[in-house]
């Protein structure tokens, strides 16, 4: 195809991405770096240091790191088991993890309220078995649970993809050469699955860090994450400048995450 022709064909998408991806991002920077009169200021970005905002950011970072770690620890053994199953079940396994997404995610998160409540389903079962009850609804624990629940598939699928690509002969060779299964795992399996680990971490960490829905539904109304603060600035307080300034801070963390993944995943095999 001539390059003349491809230039003409690419026009719609180039125009669209400038209009609806690049310009909107510039708008956030414009609003975040100006005050209401339109003068340049760093105040909106610096507002993250105020006690209330810093606390929300700190809590968001803490909870999203914990849920990323929990997702990883739950998903890795699972992905290993699934990868060792027969190959022709590949699409079926992916299906099972995508299927829950067809039930609205707000409703699925809400269902955890019913399950976790003081007299909820889980506590009824625990009482029946004469086990101590759990009271985690409206606490940070419930938010972590909600995050792990919602984002676990995003960790399992890349790990499963990476692990099922590993050539079995490499593992057999390591065994033949006298390595034990633990040694083989840390020297062969784990390093070869790094691209999957990286893209799994990215796909869990970013949405967990920026969520405001899970904290609203499972955290009661008292626990504010950075996402809640930004959402309120836009929908209730109507201070777009402050909201944009805080979004810029959030983007810094997202970019840091992207740079880290780029460093670890040099081959660019990440992202699904």
């Amino acid at each position: 195809m001539t390059s003349e022709k491809s230039k003409w064909l690419s026009t719609p998408y180039v125009a669209w991405s400038i209009m609806f991806i690049l310009i909107p991002l510039c708008m956030i920077f414009y609003y975040g770096l100006t005050d209401k009169s339109g003068a340049f200021t760093l105040e909106n970005v610096a507002a993250i240091a105020s006690a209330e905002h810093a606390k929300a950011l700190w809590l968001s970072l803490l909870l999203s790191l914990i849920s990323t770690l929990v997702c990883f620890l739950l998903a890795y053994p699972l992905a290993m088991i699934l990868a060792n199953l027969q190959v022709n079940q590949h699409s079926f396994i992916i299906l099972i993890f995508i299927l829950p997404m067809w039930m609205n995610f707000l409703l699925r998160t809400l269902a955890w309220q019913t399950l976790l409540e003081k007299n909820g389903v889980i506590n009824s079962v625990l009482s029946f078995l004469h086990l101590p009850n759990i009271n985690i609804i409206n606490t940070p624990c419930a938010i972590v649970l909600g995050m792990v629940y919602n984002f676990l598939p995003f960790m399992v699928l890349p790990l499963y993809n990476a692990l099922s690509k590993i050539d079995e002969n490499v593992i057999n060779a390591s065994r033949d050469l006298g390595a034990g299964s633990i040694y083989t795992f840390f020297r062969i399996t784990l390093p070869l699955s790094v691209p999957g680990i990286i893209s799994g971490i990215t796909m869990v960490f970013v949405p967990a860090l920026t969520t405001f829905v899970i904290s609203t539904i499972l955290g009661g109304s008292k626990i504010l994450l950075i996402g809640n603060v930004i959402e309120q600035e836009f929908t209730q307080a109507s201070n777009w400048h402050l909201g944009s300034g805080l979004s810029i801070v959030l983007m810094i963390f997202i970019i840091l995450n992207m740079i880290t993944s780029a460093v670890f995943d040099k081959e660019g095999t990440g992202l699904i």
């Binding site: 669209w16 690049l22 067809w102 707000l106 409703l107 629940y149 860090l209």
Partner: protein
């Protein structure tokens, strides 16, 4: 014996994870048959909510909006994305890398940031918030999914077949639709399905780009979260889930049957 034990542990582990993933879904399905209006209590079995669902105009309108936006945005995104892939294939390496980098932005960026940025754009453009602004936003975040599912197929294409068609006298358009398009079709279809699903399930971006009075199912549910969800909503989501499950099973069964025969 040892291997048996290991298999047993593995199976228990898988079962526990599935319990974790599907427990909320089972809960919602049970709630859709619950006579009592509150979530907390079981008041007996009923089909009442399913009957009332079809008389609840507010929910039906939200459902209509959701399906309309999902269909239109997936269609338009698929068209723009397909053309973009064909165009990118003919581009120089550098400009293609830049364009693909920009394509990744909506996928890597936080949804809340994408939502806010589009909201600020629409405000500055003076657009009226409503179905139109939701549609524009959904097309925007759908295009990357389409491009990502078509691009791998594009790379596998053999450019000689297209040139052969031209040599044999086909026009560019005929050559594209007879030679290139059939090879891309699986990628295009999976891109469309992915875009449709993403649009259907989206809440955050819709939340920031919708106008007052216009609701999709997600935003409707969010406003109901604090007041208490209407049980008809459970009935509707159960119906949607069962339909999708049925369709997917049907699709998944067919190819394996072909292989066997």
């Amino acid at each position: 014996m040892n291997k048996k034990l290991a298999d047993c542990v593995k199976n228990i582990y898988i079962a526990l994870i599935f319990l974790f993933l599907y427990a909320p879904i089972a809960t919602l399905m049970v709630l859709s048959f619950n006579k009592s209006k509150t979530r907390a209590k079981w008041g007996g079995f009923t089909f009442k909510w399913y009957a009332e669902l079809f008389e609840n105009e507010i929910i039906l309108e939200a459902l209509g909006n959701t399906l309309l936006i999902a269909t239109l945005s997936a269609l338009i995104a698929t068209m723009i994305g397909t053309v973009a892939c064909v165009a990118m294939n003919g581009m120089k390496k550098r400009s293609r890398a830049i364009l693909l980098g920009i394509t990744n932005i909506p996928m890597l960026n936080a949804e809340i940031v994408t939502g806010i940025s589009l909201m600020l754009l629409f405000i500055s453009m003076g657009l009226r918030f409503g179905l139109g602004t939701i549609l524009l936003s959904h097309i925007t975040f759908n295009i990357p999914y389409v491009i990502l599912s078509i691009m791998p197929r594009m790379k596998q294409l053999n450019p000689s077949t297209y040139e052969a068609a031209l040599d044999l006298g086909a026009s560019h358009v005929t050559a594209f639709f007879k030679v290139v398009f059939p090879d891309l079709l699986p990628g295009i279809l999976s891109g469309f399905l992915m875009a449709f699903t993403m649009s259907l399930d989206d809440f955050i971006i819709t939340h920031f780009t919708k106008g007052a009075g216009v609701d999709t199912l997600s935003t409707k549910i969010y406003t109901e979260v604090k007041k208490g969800i209407k049980p008809e909503m459970y009935a509707l989501s159960t119906l949607i889930f069962v339909t999708v499950l049925f369709l997917l099973l049907l699709v998944n069964m067919t190819p394996s049957r072909k292989k066997q025969s």
